[in-house]
Amino acid sequence: MKNYKWALALSALVAVSACKKDDDTTVEPDPNADKVAVVLNYDFNFGADDFVLDQEYTLDSGGVVKFSLATYYLAQPVIMDDAGNSSPLSPEYLIVRPNNTSSDLGYIDPGHAHMFNVSIGVDEATNTENGANGRQPTDFTDSDHPLAPQPEGMYWSWASGYIFVKIEGEVDYEGDGTFDNVFKYHLGTNPFRKDRSTVLNLNLEKAQTLQLTMHIDYEKFLEDVNMRTEILTMSMGDQRPLAEKMMNKFDAAVSFSHGILD
């Protein structure tokens, strides 16, 4: 009888342990198993060299430049199908720095992906002067939010708007090791936002990853820029034409490629 009781107790213990083990190892089904992951990679170069902050690059003129800042916003990335239906990607806003290698943009349904759209800058509703539709950086208690205050200062409170592209550095005109001047390109305001579309024409199957890559060639960005006179713009007043030029050059320095990863 005594042995029987012990056996019963042991069995109960084993049963309870087994149940607990089952509970612990329960695997939730992956909600995105039938989806297509989207990843945006970044590829930054200065001509044939990798682009790195504080590294010296030689210009065609013989001068030398080095960058101390090259940060920009991307907004509202979407994948569009043939019928023009858009699948918004997430996050809605990205702040990109030279040390970023990639950003996960969430998942989309399998099927035909016709186009990838993204804005360089911040959409007008958010980048608004009157604040009616947008949010100000001071609204964000989440300091990780891309539109929250950033260490580089990506917000102009005087114009209630975001700096879309902020590039700063120094230039050594003679290449003699002495940096002679600084350059600062703070580019923004609604007319200068660049809406980019890249045709994909891809048939995407579940569990695949759509790999998008944003290439920026900073040598191209500075091509045909007079580094003695065209070195400062805050996108306002008489600095506006230079801002327009540099935003166009940034846009031209950007290209996208894509591929599928099984």
């Binding site: 009157n130 100000q136 001071t138 409170s157 114009a159 305001t189 007043g237």
Partner: protein, 359 residues
Amino acid sequence: MAFWTSKIVGWKTKFARLLFVSGLLGFLLFSGCAKEKVQEDKYAFRESPVQITIPHFPAYSLEAGHELSAEKIAVGKKLFFDPIISRNRDISCASCHLPHLAFSDGLATSVGTEGRVHNRNSPTLFNVLWQPYLFMDGGNPTLESQVVGPIEEHREMDLPFTEAIARVAANETYQNLFKWAFNDDVNPFTFSLALASYERSLVSYNSAFDRFYYHGDSLALNASAQRGLALFKSAELKCADCHQLPLTTDFSFQNNGLKEVYLDPGRARVTNNLAEHEGQFKVATLRNIALTAPYMHDGSLASLEEVIEHYASGGSNHPLKSDKIKGFSISASEKADLLEFLKSLNDTSSYRQFDFDLP
């Protein structure tokens, strides 16, 4: 002393000693706890609502969550006077907004950290509660988001906003004060709301003019000031067309013909529309105007006499000059009357009723 050194110690004495020591320990412990308790209570979250209602001023509304409280105002005041939020810890908001100069600074254009000279005159902060947009070009819609500007501007405090937040957040006193006032950490929202709350408390509404014009105190304005008021409102001078009562501004953007060529594009800095907005600046309040010399966006007019001369002359021939600026003739005595009226707009004490103590 004898009690403790006695060698003849019976059990009663031992018990008494034990009792004494226990009591002493208990007292010390209790005192410690009580002190801790007081310390805790000192920074416990409090929200003492503050409603600023001035019957002869327009109604205003604050966004939900941005309501005023005595605690928010008090913490905002501490931040306003603290140079911790400038790069070199040498400039506070109050460096360019001095209370005794109606929160302006007496300079043509302000001087920031490392002696860097700004291109604009420091405006009074009185009655910013009623400002529909901030800065002379109206580039910012809220007091909360405008705080980013002076902190990051390289000619002012020159500190990344995130670093300003980090500095304040790392300070134990501020950590306690923000818990007390916001029940929250130091973050962009609470930081900017604290400063905005203090600035909203800077009201000026009880000048001699107010007492005369709105409260029926016929003795508040002397005869000269009363004549000046009549001139101010006259169809010939048209001052009140833009400097509308009671706030003495209609917040419109006007090119007042100060320059033939504007180095500062004014409103066009925000709109990027030089063709329509060059040289337009927000109509300034005239409250406490006698304390905020020099005048205009660049401080180029040293005195109120020069300002009157400017408007009397009709200003420049800039194509965007307001059609209200046509010039007028004014005698010396009328000018004196107008000045007397402008001086009657001083009130730098009303706001002190909203001067609340920190815990």
